[in-house]
Amino acid sequence: MGHKHLKFLGVVAAAMVFSLACGGSSGGGGGTPAKTYKIGLVTDIGGLNDKSFNHLAYVGLQKAITDFKIKGDVVESKSGDDYVPNLTNFASKGYDLVIGVGFLMQTAVGTVSGQFPNVHFAIIDGAGTDANGNDLKHANVESLFFKEQDAGAMVGVIAGWLEKNGQAKKNKGVISAVGGVSIPPVNHYIAGYKWAAAMEDPGIKVLVGYSNDFTDPAKCKGVAQSQISQNSDILFQVAGGCGLGVLQAAGQASLYSIGVDADQKDADPSVIASALKKVDVATYTAIKLVVNGQFTGGAQTFSIANGGAGYSPDNLNVPSALQTELDKVEGEIKNGTLTPPADIPA
């Protein structure tokens, strides 16, 4: 339990730092208005215990409930058929903000936001789209995008640097990534990772495999073990609950691994860093904007530049030369000198 509390506090602290950094202190928690805002959160089929972004969205909602004294309700979608009815349920009851979690819900948010123009919607990892995947740009929809490639690039720097300087385990110039399914949010991470590793160590070989699964750790472990037999030294998981098998495979082979979305240092001692996608911060921010009456539709991108993406060094004593390099790359991504690609480089 102790660990979990620490982890939770860490996340909350990150959210607080972020909300301060954004300078959105107008009103805040002090002079709460008389109205009790109602916020509805709809998870995708991963559910609340997905150990990934649905869970993080819930963490953000919980913090908002504490800070803003709002009413926050959650529905887990059991199948893809549930997205529209679950979003409609909250919208039809006059909720102030309905949040859809995940890329899979884009069309559903597009449809329902058109039916309820007076209800605010937010969607994590996507926009409200029509059947052709075009953003409908409804004024009542806020799209919360993440530059996963920023986070991927930071852990890519760590992997590339360790490999180049012979400070990984095998040091044969091979690292790898295991994705869940080949969809944009997954591939963005891998794109940044591969790009940055090659920047640090031009001769590096980056293996990329997919488990085609987000829930079964055994599947991801198998892909990871195949990569390990190809001399992979550092393994990056981008597959939610399935990817826990990657971290474990690396640990059992006494290699290094890298976690995703949340800080996963507790999942396995082999985790040297995690690529962070602060879905909790995004959720919290979206709620805060509604509570403060500052909601605006359109896209909001969370990246390194605004603290919505990043990395955490975990079970590794980061050498000072690597830290210097990380700070340099982070600074250059922030000021736009470096732009990690969204598509996996060849």
Binding site: E76, S77, D81, V84, S92, T107
Partner: protein, 383 residues
């Protein structure tokens, strides 16, 4: 349908809820509201809840029949899911390719296309069973996986993919889409909400007609007689001059067509494109429960589909209103199945003097026995 058994299941469910520290009354009022629009306490719109229940129910009707019909012939079709996927793929492909055709031509085309694809998928299992005796449980499970991977291939990197980086197909043509009962209009207000939120579509009529056709086929045609005869005893059926092999193949073809129809209706009436949600679709598996719960009869299947549709729809309201995980719905479904299968109520009633003993299992439901035994190995046809 054995009402007592359903009630018993809900009582046991309430105990589980209470033991885990939540309030059963909150849970059930949420389910009742979400399922039937009754007893809504937090401003839910009753008409919307009913509409959602019906939308969930529609594919369960046709897939329920697709499991129930082979049951009558002593065949266990675990493959309704794969057949449904085949139907949705065909519907999508035709609906995109021939988008220019007028609706009166195109809608029958996509639906029949879906039925043919489903029939083809199930037909593989039927032919393998009738010729080399391969057990349909194995073949239909394998065909489910093949269909699931085929769908992934088609819309991620394959020929049906909308655009690179997406996991969906293009939408089918407007003329391939089944209309909804109410106009799909955001500005028209009906029952206090925009008309477009009521998603009940004409697939309802088609699905009900399909259940009717199932009943007619089973009880009013010679094929239906043959199917039932094969299910009762293959040996007797053979003496009566029924071709067991032919009956097995035809039964699977028809069952597949029903499942394929479900997939086509779902694409044509609700989703309008093949999307990543089909990766995790479980309609074909829920259908097994619906068919068993409905005791293989048309009316039973309709009632069971209503119940499952209502539970599905109700779970979400229960969770949003009272915070009880919607996974409780699965627990309840299982309890209902246990309760009906074991007929606990009947067995308990038998112990109490003065109460007339209710009939045991209704005679219409063939027991599991022939599913795994006789039908498993059709002996060679006499010349």
């Amino acid at each position: 349908m054995p009402i007592g058994s359903v009630i018993l299941a809900f009582i046991i469910g309430a105990l589980i809820v209470a033991v885990t520290g939540a309030n059963p009354f909150d849970a059930y009022s949420g389910l009742l509201c979400g399922g039937f629009g009754i007893a809504c306490s937090q401003g839910e719109n009753p008409a919307l809840q009913l509409s959602n229940t019906v939308v969930f129910m529609i594919p369960l009707l046709t897939t329920g029949v697709a499991v129930a019909l082979p049951f009558r012939a002593g065949l266990f079709n675990i493959g309704a899911e794969g057949q449904l996927l085949a139907g949705s793929v065909a519907c999508t492909a035709i609906g995109i390719k021939f988008a220019g055709l007028p609706a009166p031509v195109l809608i029958p085309m996509v639906l029949i296309g879906g039925m043919l694809a489903g029939a083809l998928w199930a037909g593989v299992a039927g032919v393998l069973k009738a010729t080399v005796g391969a057990h349909e449980v194995v073949t239909t499970i394998m065909l489910n996986y093949v269909a699931q991977w085929l769908v992934r291939y088609l819309i991620i990197g394959g020929p049906l993919q909308l655009a690179p980086g997406t996991s969906r197909s293009s939408p089918i043509g407007v003329n391939a889409q089944l209309p909804t009962l109410l106009p799909a209009d955001n500005s028209l207000i009906i029952f206090g909400l925009p008309a477009s939120v009521f998603r009940v579509h004409w697939g309802l009529a088609i699905a009900l007609a399909a259940v009717g056709a199932f009943a007619f086929l089973l009880w009013r045609t010679s094929l239906g007689y043959e199917i039932r005869a094969v299910g009762q005893s293959q040996k007797a059926a053979r003496y009566a001059g029924v071709s067991v092999r032919r009956t097995i193949i035809v039964t699977m073809l028809i069952a597949g067509a029903f499942s394929g129809l479900a997939g086509a209706i779902q694409i044509s009436g609700v989703d309008h494109s093949l999307t990543d949600k089909y990766f995790s679709d479980t309609t074909g598996f829920d259908a097994i429960a619906v068919a068993l719960l409905g005791l293989g009869s048309a009316v039973g299947i309709i009632l069971a589909a209503v119940l499952f549709g209502a539970l599905h729809s109700g779970g979400a309201i229960m969770q949003s209103d009272s915070g009880i995980s919607s996974n409780l719905v699965l627990v309840l479904q299982a309890l209902i199945l246990f309760s009906i299968a074991a007929n606990f109520v009947g067995q308990i009633a038998r112990l109490i003097p003065g109460i007339r003993r209710p009939q045991a299992l209704p005679p219409e439901l063939p027991p599991a026995a022939p599913l795994m035994t006789e039908a498993a190995a059709p002996p060679p046809e006499p010349a």
